[in-house]
């Protein structure tokens, strides 16, 4: 059983604070590291993998320091975000080389290639691979020595739905075997589908932590904002404001639309069409006005 301890870790680059005083424990099973682009996920994963020194704080794996300790890689497998990977080799040559660097042989390499279902293309040059194929060969190179900790930075980027599902199955299986698997993503659905535990980071800070139900609740319980155009904005506003699911309505004369803030997401989405129908009002447009992931995250940080 392998546990990764991140203890009051910060990392800055010049004036930019990429990771700001993060403390978390990554336990066996699958953990998702969720955050928008630029949140500090890669920086944190690089420190977890021993490729970057924390400016302050420490990262330890079962009590052993990770930074400047090459023996730690007997236990760690890494799938980096960057694409480059000895493109002049074939997939098989690449994975065999990775196995040899662990003191293992062709057998371990072949097994890893089979695990990611890349045997069919193993003798092609990596330079001819699609993004999804590259991702799977990287995965194979990280698995050759059957690590107890697997770190993956945005592993689903560029994968088609079928490949994504395959990799999710594989990671789930590894989590079930008792390995510690951590992957980063900026897509909530991805993390929800796979991770039994989620760590959210935003702007370098640790924003939330828990299983997907808790994170989902944090996200849906916040006020939702909608921009609504209808055949009679005033009548619609009057009818909606009476309901407790609506916490605020503003008539935007310039836009010719209503800005509505709803506190109860489920109730409001049922209410709006019903009210419109009852009052004979035609809804011309209903659009969420702040559904970007960033706004969801900034809400989480403020909470």
């Amino acid at each position: 059983m392998t546990t990764l301890n991140i203890d009051h870790v910060s990392r800055w680059f010049g004036n930019v604070v990429a990771v700001n005083d993060i403390t978390m424990t990554i336990s066996p099973g699958v953990t998702g590291l969720l955050g928008p682009n630029g949140a500090g996920k890669s920086t944190l994963i690089n420190m977890m993998g021993g490729f970057l020194a924390p400016s302050t704080g420490s990262v330890t794996l079962d009590g052993q320091a990770v930074w400047r300790n090459e023996q730690i890689y007997r236990q760690i497998g890494i799938v980096p975000e960057r694409e480059a990977m000895y493109d002049f080799l074939t997939g098989r040559e690449f994975v065999v080389a990775n196995a040899e660097l662990h003191g293992l042989g062709k057998k371990a390499a072949q097994k890893a290639l089979a695990t990611v279902e890349m045997e069919y293309a193993q003798d092609r040059k990596i330079s001819t691979y699609s993004k999804g194929m590259r991702q799977r060969v990287k995965m194979a190179s990280a698995l050759v020595h059957e690590p107890s900790l697997l770190l993956l930075d945005e592993p689903f980027n560029g994968m088609d739905p079928r490949q994504r599902m395959q990799l999710m199955d594989l990671l789930r299986r590894m989590g079930d075997e008792g390995r510690t698997v951590l992957f980063s993503s900026h897509i909530l659905e991805e993390v929800e589908q796979l991770a039994s535990h989620i760590e959210v980071i935003v702007a370098g800070r640790h924003a939330a932590s828990g299983d997907f139900r808790r994170i989902r609740r944090l996200m849906t319980d916040r006020p939702h904002r909608y921009l609504v155009r209808s055949s009679d904005d005033r009548a619609l506003a009057a009818a909606l404001i009476a309901d407790p699911s609506t916490s605020g309505i503003e008539v935007d004369l310039q836009e010719g639309a209503l800005r509505i803030q709803a506190v109860d997401f489920g109730r409001f989405t049922a209410l709006l069409p019903r009210v419109a129908r009852d009052h004979g009002i035609r809804l011309l447009a209903v659009s969420p006005s702040d559904e970007s992931l960033e706004s969801v995250f900034s809400y989480l940080v403020a909470a």
Partner: protein
């Protein structure tokens, strides 16, 4: 200390099609020049020494050294693929030492062999000139490979700095300023070469002892330092 897998990856990267073409261009040029000189002037020991000293040792060897030395590690650090070496339980000095061996072998192959061939073409090794410059190219290959491997480990602009050193310092500045000449891999290797010919066609500004000590010191210190640098090499996200 030496890891055959690291060596294989380094050779394949270095001798990829494009870089191999660049590595091969100067030796081909040297041979062409030698054939032309031989055809026009016949065999002349002084001319042979001028071509080998002025072009082969002063220009070709350091440039090959820059390409092989920085190329043995620089591109991997640049594109991030070095992570696949670093994420392994291998001592960092072992990675550097292995890459040094590869860089030395490639520099020697692409510089010493053509130097010897050119010497044979120019004057058939008269007065041991071909052998002397070949020895100079061999020992210079070691020091250049170590220096430029270090440069490739510490800076992204290793090729530029390397070429500036090779062309400005060794070739140009060195011929103008006396002080610069004693701090020059070329002069140190010439001191060794002088020992081979004994005559005064191959001379150096430094003595054999000084040259040898400095060659060894530069090689050892550069290699040690590169190993230390690799231990704390940080991989940050794409900026």
């Amino acid at each position: 200390m030496y890891d055959p897998t690291v060596a294989r990856l380094t050779y394949r990267g270095l001798l990829g099609r494009r870089r191999a073409l660049i590595l091969g261009a100067l030796p081909v040029l040297l041979i062409v020049i030698s054939v032309a000189v031989r055809a026009f002037t016949g065999t002349d020991d002084q001319v042979a020494a001028d071509v080998l000293g002025g072009f082969a040792l002063a220009t070709m060897v350091p440039i090959i050294g820059v390409i092989a030395g920085t190329g043995a590690i620089g591109p991997e650090i640049d594109d991030g693929s070095v992570v696949y070496l670093l994420a392994k339980p291998i001592k960092r000095p072992t990675i550097i030492f292995t890459k040094l061996i590869v860089a030395i072998a490639v520099t020697m192959a692409f510089s010493a062999i053509p130097t010897f061939l050119a010497g044979m073409i120019l004057n058939g090794n008269g007065q041991q000139i071909a052998v002397a410059y070949t020895v100079a190219a061999l020992v210079a290959s070691i020091a250049y490979a170590a220096l430029f491997l270090l440069l490739g480990t510490i800076t992204r602009h290793a090729v530029v700095f390397g070429l500036v050193y090779a062309l400005v310092w060794e070739a140009l500045f060195g011929s103008l300023v006396a002080g610069a000449r004693t701090l020059s891999v070329q002069q140190w290797s010439l001191a060794v070469a002088h020992e081979v010919t004994g005559g005064d066609l191959v001379t150096s500004d430094v003595g054999l002892a000084t040259g040898t000590v400095l060659l060894i010191a530069v090689t050892v210190v550069a290699t040690w330092f590169a190993g230390q640098k690799l231990r704390t090499l940080t991989l940050a996200g794409e900026e």
